[in-house]
Symmetry: none
Subunit: 149 residues, 2 copies
């Protein structure tokens, strides 16, 4: 169960250090084999390979001719890459994926249960604003009806 948000910096080569507290878990879960891909909300997704496989299969089963379905498939699958951590526990993010998520020097590495999300600083702050708005309206977001903290 991954959780927690950390700020990290991307170096000139596009490398990002995975927080040490998550490294062991990532290696244990999938032998260090990870999948990095893009999310339609303009962030990146990092899955241990074994958690990715069922999701990938589910995506593959979606309709190919409905334009919205096809576009979603293309983003999630078309951008997927097998990656691994280097000796210093870092992840190398290709220029293509950096562009999708508009990543600059400062990025956020966020645990989301089964996987991680990687956000630009601006994008992550935008999510906080969106969440505030969502809970301010009279209509709660789907899944949060009768929700009490």
């Amino acid at each position: 169960m991954f959780q927690g948000a950390t700020t990290l910096s991307l170096d000139a080569k596009g490398r990002m250090a995975v927080p040490a507290r998550h490294r062991d878990a990532l290696v244990a879960l999938a032998g260090g084999r990870l999948v990095l891909t893009a999310h339609p909300h303009q962030c990146l997704l990092l899955y241990p390979e074994n958690a990715w496989v069922p999701i990938r299969d589910r995506i593959l089963g979606a309709p190919s001719f409905d334009p919205r379905s096809a576009a979603t498939k293309r983003v999630l699958l078309g951008n997927a890459l097998d990656v691994a951590l280097d000796a210093a526990g870092r992840l190398l993010i290709t220029p293509e994926l950096r562009e999708v998520a508009a990543l600059e020097k400062q990025v956020w590495f966020v645990g989301m249960g089964s996987h991680f999300e990687i956000w630009s600083d601006a994008g992550w702050k935008r999510q906080h604003e969106a969440a505030f708005e969502a809970l301010s309206s009279t209509e709660p977001p789907p899944g949060f009806e009768d929700f009490s903290l």
Copy 2:
């Protein structure tokens, strides 16, 4: 059942002493395992782990593609961290979480039944003003219709 608001100071390292009268209860409830996360209203939430788990599972079940639901998930889950009190009964609040709640030196530690909320001084005062406004209007807030103190 936690209740009561206390002012405390955050030291230079971001540590906050949990009021002694709550320590025993926190340790007894969850063996000292606590979860600290962010609330979209710009405060922090502190749960004993056993009280957090059902809430976490509820959040995990919310839809991932609806933007409002996804943003809410990201704030509540993405910011969640397992924490524990140090030898002096203090809680270490990471810079990331301090930023979300705009915490400075003086903070409020507020019991809210199953959990605690942590507020900046300014944020806590803002809540009081909002509550004052809310009950001044002719329309009572949702949940407080036909309410009698």
